[in-house]
């Protein structure tokens, strides 16, 4: 078991996600930065999709009641064991009674804390991921807090001192470029609206969490039309459709919202484009006041980026297994 002394601002149990229920309105949840999440599990000898802790902006303080092997990846959130700084992206042996804590965030936004054996909370609809909006999964469907006890699963023997080399760790830039596959409803934008979306410098607002990231910076205008039957009256409304994870909607044409893993699965807003799956990791590591640019790419470039990312993960797998 792991005893939680402090939860951190928002730390949840996440695994690879809850799939197969999207059509019923159940979003996948799961680790937002999938690459760092998988690397954390590989470091401690877990299956890649095992449940970990996702800490946002600030880390928890955790006391281990049993010996454990752990690794912290993702954001540059300096970690300490019994007050002594330890490296990230490295497997570490922690003895029963030792305390893991964190300093102030240096870069990125989300850190992944993997423990050999995984965080052994109950599986709900096929996943241990926390979906806080509906209070399911994770630990009682919520962020962890002081006094909680986190069960740890049976671990395979795992070695300490294994590390992911620097070149395979994500850059955590202050300014991000997100590649976007335009559609499903970008036909609703005027040429000027499309230009504004792709050429404005956008800033992440404080309304940014696992549900979605809201941006401010430009203004988007829509082609005038008589709204069709079934669509709402605002020009940013369409007849209801399914929202891809990563899709960007613009209620009222003012503030684009990129929908993430805990978002609503469908509705009646224009989706002007979808952030490619690889770059959702970069969204997860961006934060309020961060600068963002959107760049339109075709599906070929999106798939090439996915293949390149698979090659990087394969390099980690080969080095660690």
């Amino acid at each position: 078991m792991i005893r939680v002394h402090e939860g951190g601002v928002r730390t949840t149990v996440q695994d690879a996600g809850r799939f197969g229920l999207y059509h019923l309105g159940m979003p996948p949840s799961g680790a937002l930065d999938d690459y760092s999440f998988r690397a954390a599990n590989l470091l401690v000898g877990n299956d890649e999709g095992a449940a970990v802790l996702e800490a946002t902006f600030s880390g928890p303080t955790l006391e281990f009641e049993q010996d454990a092997v752990i690794a912290v990846t993702g954001a540059d959130l300096p970690l300490k064991v019994d007050g002594e700084e330890q490296p990230g992206w490295t497997s570490l042996r922690v003895k029963a009674g030792q305390v893991l804590s964190f300093d102030f965030l240096r870069a990125g936004a989300r850190a992944y804390i993997a423990v050999a054996g995984g965080i052994d909370v109950p599986v709900v609809f096929g996943s241990r991921s926390t979906y806080a909006l509906c209070v399911i999964g994770g630990l009682e469907g919520r962020a962890i807090r002081e006094g909680d006890m986190l069960p740890v699963g049976d671990a395979r023997p795992a070695a300490a001192g294994r590390t992911v080399e620097e070149r395979l760790r994500p850059a955590l830039p202050k300014e991000v470029e997100l590649r976007v596959n335009m559609g499903l409803c970008d036909y609703r934008l005027t040429d000027e609206g499309r230009r504004s979306f792709l050429e404005s410098e956008w800033t992440v607002t404080p309304a940014a969490d696992r549900i979605g990231y809201r941006y401010r910076g430009g203004e988007l205008s829509f082609v005038e039309r008589e709204q069709p039957f079934g669509a709402g009256s605002d020009p940013s409304n369409v007849v209801d459709l399914g929202y891809p994870v990563g899709s960007i909607q613009v209620p009222g044409g003012i503030e684009p919202i990129c929908l993430l893993n805990d978002a609503v699965t469908g509705g009646g807003y224009v989706t002007i484009g979808t952030v490619i799956s690889v770059d959702r990791d970069a969204v997860a590591q961006s934060k309020t006041h961060g600068k963002t640019h959107f760049r339109a790419v075709g599906i070929d470039e999106a798939l090439a980026a996915r293949a390149e990312r698979r090659t990087r993960l394969d390099a980690i797998r080969t080095a660690l297994t």
Binding site: V9, R10, T56, F57, S58, D103, F104, L105, R106, A109, P206, A207, A208, D209, K287, T288, H289
Partner: protein, 80 residues
């Protein structure tokens, strides 16, 4: 002697007032005790209270009202 400061553990938007038309939590020159709320940090659709972690007198704020703050930023300088 190094200045004593209250730092923000979170990135976000810093507010000195509980709401726009209210008085600031703390004015420069006020006495501050450990645990006193000195402002709010807005992030993830939530307002988190920023509390003093030491006693002192509020000397000056380094982040303006509604200004951007990074995790670890000094927000308020305290003097004896």
């Amino acid at each position: 002697m190094a200045e004593r400061t209250v730092r923000s553990p979170l990135p976000g938007t810093f507010y000195r007032r509980p709401k726009p038309d209210a008085d600031p939590f703390v004015n420069e020159g006020d006495t501050v005790a450990t645990g006193d709320v000195i402002g709010l940090v807005e992030v993830m659709k939530t307002f988190y209270e920023l509390k003093a972690d030491q006693d002192g007198v509020a000397d000056r704020f380094l982040i303006e009202d509604a200004g951007a703050v990074e995790a670890g930023d000094d927000v308020l300088v305290l003097r004896d």
